[in-house]
């Protein structure tokens, strides 16, 4: 079953539940935590994005931000601790053991369950990456608490100080706000690039708490035999591209997607697509922008023949400038695009490609 039940409880019931008073035991849970995703010394940027968000939540609650760093002991741990503090943490928990060198569900969930039960944070945030989703699903079960996946907005509900986590539901057609009222900690995963990267402040100071779990490697069944790094970093580039040209099913057929590639080439842009196009196999799924694809924040996002379903919207609405091309003047994409052209993408795309090409030539000659 989905996070949002097939039949959401009536609003009345939820409103009654909001007045819920926590037990003294659960009131002892304090602080907003981010599990810092570190693999082979490299920190996933989503962790810093979440520290920025955790800072805002903690300030509303008047509590501290905690960053948890798991891994094998190594010189880079100090450096990562410093970065976590610079991005908003007040206290860093370093949980170091040779068994945590590579991500594995069993040791990571064992250690995180213990650390949460010891220090009792009220909120635990993880990136919705392969690591974060794997770990979050496991520890929400050992801790028997609520977990909300792929949130696009986090806030503190003023009437009960609990986390209000908003996410798309029903395949990205509606949004819903989910709360964990009677259980602690409250857990959520957030996709990379959904939250803004906070300003790094090198003057911030914080405490470091060292946790030594003393794990016995032989109790863990799964072993990492090898790690094969990806050869091409194409996937990563879409999420961090400055300019993206995306196509939707308004392009009508696979061959027409070439028009998107043509414009992207002239602009030095990355190519994106809406879900129907990746599902139909017009482009590979790693180029999908949206709730089940990538979240992007480019300077310019050109959406051609994309209707703008919420599924797609949550993946691109944080772009600086969105230019939408759609033949339907009432398409939902015009509700959140900054600029729109009502017209046939099959004609407008080649016209844009041609005119950008000419301007580039003029520009080159001038300089």
């Amino acid at each position: 079953m989905s996070q949002a039940p097939a039949n959401p409880p009536p609003a009345k019931k939820a409103a009654g539940g909001r007045k819920f008073e926590l037990s003294e035991e659960l009131k002892a849970y304090k602080g907003v935590w981010v599990i810092v995703e570190q693999e082979r010394g490299k920190v996933h940027t989503v962790s810093y994005e979440l520290l920025g968000e955790a800072r805002k939540l903690a300030d509303k609650l008047g509590v501290e931000v905690g960053a948890v760093i798991l891994g094998a002991p190594g010189p880079f741990i100090n450096e990562i601790s410093g970065e976590a503090i610079a991005y908003g943490a007040d206290v860093v928990y370093t949980v170091l053991d040779a068994a945590l060198a590579e991500y594995r569900t069993e040791p990571y969930s064992k250690v995180m369950t213990d650390v949460v039960n010891t220090f009792k944070p009220e909120i635990v945030l993880l990136g919705a990456s392969t690591l974060g989703r794997d770990l979050a699903g496991a520890i929400a079960t050992t801790l028997l608490t609520g977990l909300t996946a792929d949130c696009t907005e986090l806030d503190i509900s003023p009437e009960n100080r609990s986390l209000a986590a908003t996410r798309p539901t029903f395949g990205g057609t509606l949004l819903c706000t989910i709360q964990t009222l009677a259980y602690r900690p409250q857990m959520a995963t957030i996709r990379p690039r959904v939250m803004q990267m906070p300003e790094r402040d090198g003057t911030r100071t914080g405490r470091v708490v060292e946790v030594t779990p003393n794990l016995a490697e032989d109790i863990f069944v799964t072993k990492v035999l090898d790690f094969i790094p990806d050869s091409d970093q194409e996937e990563a580039q879409l999420a961090f591209a400055d300019i993206i040209v995306s196509g939707g099913k308004g392009l009508q057929k696979a061959e027409n997607f070439k028009l998107v590639w043509d414009l992207a080439e002239v602009l030095g842009a990355e190519v994106g697509a809406s879900r129907p196009c990746t599902q139909a196999g017009w482009v590979t799924s790693d180029r999908q922008v949206g709730q089940t694809g990538k979240t992007v924040r480019p300077k310019l996002y050109i959406a051609a023949g994309i209707s703008g379903a919420i599924q797609h919207r949550v993946g691109c609405e944080n772009s600086d400038v969105i230019l939408a091309i759609n033949s339907d003047p009432n398409a939902p994409i015009f509700d959140f695009a900054h600029h729109g052209i009502v017209g046939d993408a099959l004609q407008i795309l080649p016209a844009l490609t041609e005119q950008f090409r000419q301007r580039r030539l003029v520009n080159r000659k001038a300089s």
Binding site: M1, S2, P9, E106, L131, T141, S157, T222, F334, R359
Partner: protein, 276 residues
């Protein structure tokens, strides 16, 4: 070898419509399908059955109409099917769902020990990816998510080697049965069922289970057993202002020229990025 594959019947989300006046989901007439991510796990389970023999049991929790998805799964080659259905399950979040499904898997395990549980990577309607890990944790099974390839299974040593997609690369993991696996999309493609399977799917009676069949603690399912509460469902607000429309006489080429002029004058910094 006994393999349990958990599937979910979902609305074909490409066809969901929102009522323009009431802003509610129009469920009528929306076709129900097997969650597409589940098919990669089902196919992988069927391949293991082809290789090692044994049984593939498909399991779903849902309303009575989910029977259609179970029969579809059997038509691909699943041996038998369990429909876990009860009004008390309504409103279950992922924690309550993993509890109910685990209860059913435990009962299947008593009948014949379960070597592997497969779940979909995530569903297309909830997209949480939480129920599989929930089951693995509750069953104390090895959790192998985002599996791109099962390299090897050795039933004598009970060892399994898989390639798991992780950030920036692929982990090769050696683990042991019993394990819970979610397969990555594109890792295989679903077979066409044989004529025999199709007849069998239509004829074989399903196991219809409810809370009394396998659930020990009723307080752990449904709304009561769900820590999360949906406090609000809503249609997102449009931005304060709608898109400024670029209008120009003279067709596509005039519209394109007007759009480029607009971009360059409104966002002078962007111009450098666009024509560098």
């Amino acid at each position: 070898m006994h393999i349990v594959v958990c599937i979910k019947q979902v609305p074909d989300s490409a066809q969901i419509r929102i009522h323009p006046v009431t802003n509610t989901i129009m469920r009528q007439g929306v076709p129900a399908i097997i969650n597409p991510y589940d098919l990669f796990s089902l196919e992988e389970a069927l391949r293991l059955k082809d290789r090692f023999g044994g049984r593939v049991t498909v399991l779903t929790m849902g309303p009575p109409m989910a029977e259609a998805s179970l029969r579809k799964a059997m038509s691909f080659g699943a041996t038998d099917a369990v429909l876990l259905t009860d009004r008390k399950f309504a409103g279950s979040d992922t924690l309550a769902t993993s509890y109910a499904l685990t209860s059913a898997i435990r009962k299947l395990h008593e009948e014949e020990p379960v070597d592997l549980v497969f779940c979909g990577k995530q569903t297309i309607d909830g997209d949480t990816a939480q129920v599989g890990p929930g089951i693995a944790t509750r069953m104390n099974m090895q959790q192998l998510t985002y599996v791109a390839k099962i390299e090897d299974v050795n039933l004598d040593s009970r060892e399994i080697t898989v390639q798991r997609r992780s950030e920036g690369g692929v982990q090769v993991l050696k683990s042991r049965l019993p394990a819970m696996i979610t397969m990555l999309e594109g890792s295989n493609s679903m077979r066409f069922g044989t004529m025999d399977d199709m007849f069998r799917a239509a004829r074989t009676p399903l196991k219809l289970w409810n809370k009394d069949t396998c659930v020990d603690d009723e307080a752990k399912v449904g709304l009561k057993g769900s820590p999360t509460v949906v406090s609000k469902v809503f249609v997102p607000k449009p931005r304060a202002e709608k898109a400024k429309m670029i209008e120009a006489e003279g067709g596509a080429s005039a519209q394109a020229a007007a759009a480029i002029d607009m971009l360059f004058t409104t966002y002078p910094k962007l111009a450098n990025d666009l024509v560098r």
